[in-house]
Amino acid sequence: MNMDEALQTFIAEARELLEEMETALLEVRQADDPADMINAIFRAAHTIKGSAGLFGLDFIVSFAHVAESVLDRVRDGGVQLDDAVVTLLLACCDHIGSLVEATAAGQTEADAEMTARAAPLLAQLHRHLGDDAHAPEHAPANASALVAAEPILQRMPHDGNARSADHWHISLRFGTQVLRNGMDPLSFLRYLGKLGRITAITTLADALPPLTELDPECCHLGFEIAFKSSADKAAIEGAFEFVLDDCAVRILPPDSRVSAYIELIESQGESQPGGPARLGEILVRCGTLTQHELDDALARQAQGDAEPLGQMLVSQGSVQPPVVAAALTRQKQIKEGKATENQSIRVDADKLDRLIDLVGELITASATASMAGRTVQSVALHEAHSTLASLVQEVRDSALQLRMVKIGATFSRFQRVVHDVSREIGKDIALSISGEDTELDKTVVEKIADPLTHLVRNSMDHGIEPVALRAERGKPARGTVTLNAYHDSGSVVIEVGDDGGGLNRERILAKAIERGLIEAGRHLSDAEIYGLVFEPGFSTAEQVTNLSGRGVGMDVVKRNISALRGAVSIDSEAGVGTTVTVRLPLTLAIINGFQVGVGSSVFVLPLETVEECVEFNAETGHDYAQLRGQVLPFIRLRDLFKVPGAPGARQSIVVVRQGAQRFGLIVDRLLGEAQTVIKPLARMFAHLQGISGSSILGSGDVALILDVPALMARAGQAEHSRANAPAPATSLASMSN
């Protein structure tokens, strides 16, 4: 494999592992059975260390090693996993993350800044290991320090139940074709000599046929090697890289359990004359097993005990039961991990973007083709076009589906935010997550993380009351912030809620009047008042904290969400809590559109927002209509966009819904559904209100895509400004006023 590619894979995997590690660290304190999670954390650290070693990234290895050692102590109960340790390990997780990012940026060793950042962490880690000797003054920023720290890493206590062979054991059986393939087993052994010291070797010629039958160009040799080395398994395995297809290589690390050796004896011994017993002797000769250990295990096995080997060794007292249990679960997990791994592949995001672009072009081209086809009076052509159109639609849906990711990963990142912030501001706050399986476009997910972070922090800082106040109000001491997501009519809704004190209506009003945002004495609905917090420069926090309350933020949140063609609203109940609702489009690239015509122009509405179309009876002078007894505010698109020409005799109202509100758009013609590829507007049109993008029609003309939330706001205003608007008796009117 290309080294660069391999490194990229390492970086991607390390990122994932760190994420898993973080998640597990955040959950481990609440877990019923923390052992699994501790194992997961340990594995993540261990894997990162191992793979980093493969690339010679010593600065990662040395740090990860110390963290791993502490985790090992946590695993065997030597270190209590309390809050302080979790916080420390989270910090280590972050540090490893920054080292990995540095690697991604092309760095191959630690710079002064990293070493400085690592020093306090290492000091704390070493304190948990109980050896202050390795404290920061000689922070292990290189591999030599790693060696110094080696004795800390004890996989198992050295009592009678554990193996104490302190060397690797390598078992090699070369395939018959090795020599013919131009490789000499001797050269691998010589290379091995460079990685460490071969302390004992036995050359096995048991498979060698008699001289009369010997094909002298076939290899029949095998070797059992005791090997002392500080290299890791990957490096040792690497020595046999070129011959792996042609050679059975088994590598047992130092201090492997007896069962591992027994297993080796069984598996390699089967295929060789003399059977397992002979191989056992060889292991004894290499000093890998003691004669006593071997005799015991073999004798038991010979008795024909049907019980599995693991169990046998346990009952025999060779291995502690938890060790076997751990090993078994690990095997299972590895298997399961592989199963899911096979179900997905990594694809470059750029390739997906390219695919979506092409699908967009395909949609436009297919619309052009079917328009051209209409001029030809051919039934066959017409049918072909309609088949094509439905296929294109399916291709579009599956292509877009490829970009869909679950929001769960984004949500679980907030566990960390909540964990850190609650400590920082001294409140006890839990995060509750639901709807994590809700899918949305990858681009949207990436861009929504920042606004969500701000909303979550805001909820924690301003929403949740201090503990004393909560107790006074009879609420549980621990506050809760909730994140929820679900699909609703072509959009994704994300809710950030808290069970805090709710917004203070009066204070917002007072502030808004003070800032001149609204006039005093004007009657506003609750929704309108709460909406004011999204105005630029608005903050009611009495104390400015490090997190929020500086008057920047909520308006930025709103702007970011609007940029994604989304909308944000806020709902609150005094003393009960606040919920911010973010509504986002499912995708940014292609939508099902509903085309309407005004004069010679064509406009597109997202189909999901269109509720119904009714005939418009021109009652001049009103900007509202009656719809089944309810007042429906509307906008004349002709007036709004100053389309020239007189309105046609038969205009229609398109009833559009956004959230719980509805309004109408007056158009000349209804052109029906069409797939619409969204092209962003050029920068010079960015200030246009009510237009969110453009699209190219099959005819080659440009259609403008209407920005429903912006139009909605305008419809509300228009009605509000009517001096003699009818009393808002209906729920519809009160919501839009």
Partner: protein, 93 residues
Amino acid sequence: MVVLDGELTIYRAAELRDQLLAATAAHPDGFDVDLAGVTEIDSAGVQLLMAAKRAAQSEGGDIALVGHSAAVTEVFELLDLAAHFGDPLLVAP
């Protein structure tokens, strides 16, 4: 006495095998193998020597390796084969 010299490698393995087979047939009670002229030896060569020893032993005889060259000594040490053949290794002065 059989003299093996030059390369004891896969390239000459077939030829060497015939040579050793002939010697085994001619001297059922054993013979000496002079390795002084061996410039290079690989796994194939080692294998042949081991097979020849076993063949001789199965006939009730044995072979003795003598005059190990530096190349042979190095490989025997790498593979810890001295004990297997049981012949005195003369370490070059």
